[in-house]
Symmetry: C2
């Protein structure tokens, strides 16, 4: 109860995935975890290599080949409930089969004007995302797409991409959490399509041929609708599905 | 670790004060606590009367006559780390002598453009406030005054008032957490001065005769400087000190 995470919501985390007992993109996650910690002035108290060893030890003991591993780092036990103390770190592991959603499923998004606090830091703050969930249900949407004055940023736990009719692939570059799968998809996409990080507006989405989201849990997932308007044919797009397959191959290789 | 407060920063609280073993403005705090819970769709699971009894029981057992009591209500143990579960409620008590700052001390504020998420709800989110603290130190300021495009709202744990040269007293009415001491000070002030809730701009502060903040912990505390500029004479104002005395009297009566 005296930790600043509960007292003042002050904490960060990162979420690693294992497949067949192997860590996927572990260095990227570790780099982001240390970046978040430094932005929040939280001492990790371990080097990257030490943390890697800890992760491996936990994974060996738990023996859950396909899993999600969360490292949480908090503001620590604060004497006055306000000042930063020595951070507490806890690592937990749970079974996870990522990207298990049916390809054809796709999701429906609804836009909402909001910018996360310290958007490039993976803080524990998802207050708005959870607060908005009943509103999503009412509006028959699966998730929320944040924007500021029509400029799109991200989904609470995913990044957002569009494919234009000329097959240009784009995702927002600012005011977002830079996802690890986003990075891989940018790389894969760039090997075949004109791909860029740029400002995307709600109007651009209406004109898009395809849209999709990326995340460690969802991998690449088609977006079929935004604000009740169908994207392209209203079915998962070809380029989306190609990226999804390429990513899956990369992960399993 | 599985509570949504740590997973997703999803929780609320309220902070009660006891003086000589008696709860001060307990009904106001309870009303606000239930309001916050309802806004966040968290079931308190107790009536106000039941909660009052619990508070009294705790106070009797702890026997800390001058104290702060915090009731925290969280999103609960969430299966998927994202969906609301049955809320957890924890009540803690610690010694507290409120308003112990020296009258003459006063504080220096620095303005920062930010609006709290769900500002009228007492969530546990103080991420920006704590994140800004090193910046306050660098700028020789004691606390931060939030504004949006020059329109002032609040201090992270206090409300903000100004007194104009014609003795009009004003505090922001929107995008704030409505403080319990703020309410009392509005009442006391209104008994003698023209007092209103209205939009206050940074420019208004520069022209003000006095400024002060209110909170359960600080009661009424003079503001001597905002953004490095002296307010009025640069000393605690007469009306500020009168309000402070009146409030103290009310509390001890």
């Amino acid at each position: 109860m005296n930790d600043l995470a509960i007292q003042r919501a002050y904490g960060i985390f990162d979420f690693f995935r294992t497949v067949n007992g192997k860590f996927i993109f572990a260095d990227d996650h570790l780099d982001r975890f240390f970046y978040s910690a430094s932005q929040m002035r939280l001492e990790v108290g371990k080097t990257k290599d030490e943390l890697k060893e800890l992760l491996a030890e936990l994974a060996a003991k738990n023996n859950i080949p396909d899993s999600g591993i969360r490292i949480t780092l908090t503001g620590g036990y604060s004497e006055d409930g306000y000042s930063l103390a020595k951070p507490n770190m806890v690592i937990t592991q749970k079974p996870l089969i990522a990207g298990k959603e049916n390809n054809a499923d796709g999701i429906r998004l609804i836009s909402y004007e909001h910018r996360r606090q310290l958007p490039d830091v993976k803080t524990i703050d998802y207050i708005m995302a959870i607060w908005l969930r009943p509103w999503l249900l009412q509006n028959i949407a699966d998730d929320v797409l944040y924007h500021q004055a029509g400029k799109v940023s991200e989904i609470p736990r995913s990044n957002f991409f569009i494919v234009a009719h000329d097959n240009k692939v784009a995702t927002a570059g600012n005011n977002i959490l830079k996802g690890i799968i986003r990075k891989q998809v940018l790389k894969i996409s760039g090997s075949r399509f004109d791909t860029e990080e740029k400002d995307i507006y709600l109007d651009d989405i209406r004109d898009a041929k395809e849209a999709f989201i990326t995340s460690t849990t969802k991998q690449v997932l088609p977006v079929l609708q935004v604000d009740g308007q169908q994207i392209g044919t209203g079915k998962p797009g070809e380029i989306t599905m190609w990226l999804r397959e390429q990513l899956t191959q990369l992960v399993y290789d």
